[in-house]
Amino acid sequence: MRLLTHNMLASNVKGVTNGFPLRLEAEKWAEKEVELNADFLRHMFSKIEWKALAGAARAVGYGELPDEADASMLDSEDFLRRFHHALLEIHVEEGALVCPESGRRFPINKGIPNMLLHEDEI
């Protein structure tokens, strides 16, 4: 699971009103190089919750993202490289995503988060 996906996932448990961002508990992760595509990054920037991305990046030991970001920073190559690395090059292999409101844990196994709910949570 890339941090891109972490940024798109929210707790889907019945009754939870504030299920984003899920707290990332990473036990195992890997870094894989991906070709940087500035158009993609610019397109995605407006959709990304920056604070959630920076927080998730810190959870996997990457502290190189600024706490805040705005679109003007997309002109900087250095910023793009960091954004790219955090969004697409870090893969969480094992761990969990924890609902900030209910504490419900969604496991991540072999890089795949499992958002399935039990019957009483739907």
């Binding site: 699971m1 890339r2 891109l4 996906t5 940024n7 798109m8 996932l9 929210a10 707790s11 889907n12 984003f20 991906v34 070709e35 940087l36 595509n37 158009d39 993609f40 397109h43 995605m44 959709k47 919750e49 697409l88 969604f106 072999k110 890089g111 795949i112 988060p113 499992n114 958002m115 399935l116 709910l117």
Partner: protein
């Protein structure tokens, strides 16, 4: 020549996961038939709902390979074994998609709303007793409830949420699903539709239908664009034959 689809020998399998079948091939053939349009469409995010073996999403990623690093893929399945199988199939082809085990796109669709440019679905479409819908394992790959519409009807509004303004949906349907009614339903949501592939076997008649949002402009009356695309006639003919 480079392969244009996923290679069957590289597709992983698991006893509880749907293997590529006629419907999977029909969907991939539809994508191939529309490949030039897909390339011009320049999608950034593509998604498969119910990815099974991973054959379809891998094929799509191979077809769009020339678009390079600007396209990313999501795939979901309710069956955890399917998610892992898709993972293995993608890996065997040197591809990547972000995979999530979930019911349709639960937990994802709010944040991804309006962002997906291409969605592909080969849903569980076989008419079955309602109780079989959402069963564990391989049953979930075909059990479609009444008229085979239970999962399809759950998927359509979510697809509408997920698709970007220029978004396209490719979906497999069976005659028993009443595809013309599905097209009407989508028309009400603002989509035009066209059959890309039609295939009849002894047991079933499959259609792969493409849906896209119709941009309403003031000077072209809406009804015109509908008439040329809407496949109602075709369906009533095919549903009459057995």
């Amino acid at each position: 020549m480079l392969p244009r689809t996923a290679q069957i020998r590289l597709v992983s399998c698991h006893p509880e996961v749907y293997e590529p079948c006629d419907d999977s091939f029909a969907l991939v053939d539809a994508l191939l038939a529309d490949r030039e349009h897909l390339i011009k469409h320049q999608p950034m995010l593509c998604m498969e709902l119910g990815c099974g073996s991973g054959y379809v999403i891998s094929s799509l990623a191979i077809m769009l390979g020339e678009l390079g690093s600007g396209v990313h893929y999501f795939a979901t399945d309710i069956n955890p074994d399917a998610a892992e199988t898709t993972q293995a199939t993608l890996k065997a082809h040197g591809l990547h998609a972000e995979i999530v085990v979930t019911d349709v796109a639960s937990g994802l669709h709010k944040n991804l709303a309006g962002m997906i440019d291409v969605i592909v679905v080969n849903p569980p479409y076989v008419p079955t007793p309602e109780e079989e819908v959402g069963c564990k394992g391989i049953t979930a790959s075909w059990a479609g409830g009444e008229n085979g519409r239970s999962v399809i009807d759950k998927i359509l509004p979510i697809v509408d949420e997920l698709l970007s303004q220029k978004g396209w949906l490719y979906m497999v349907t069976l005659t028993a699903n009443n595809p013309s009614q599905i097209c009407l339903l989508m028309k009400e949501k603002g989509y035009a539709s066209r059959i890309i592939v039609q295939r009849s076997t002894e047991e079933e008649s499959l259609h792969v239908i493409k849906f896209w949002r119709v941009v309403v402009s003031n000077d072209s009356p809406r009804s015109d664009s509908w008439f040329s695309q809407f496949p109602l006639k075709l369906f009533s003919r095919s549903s009459g034959s057995t």
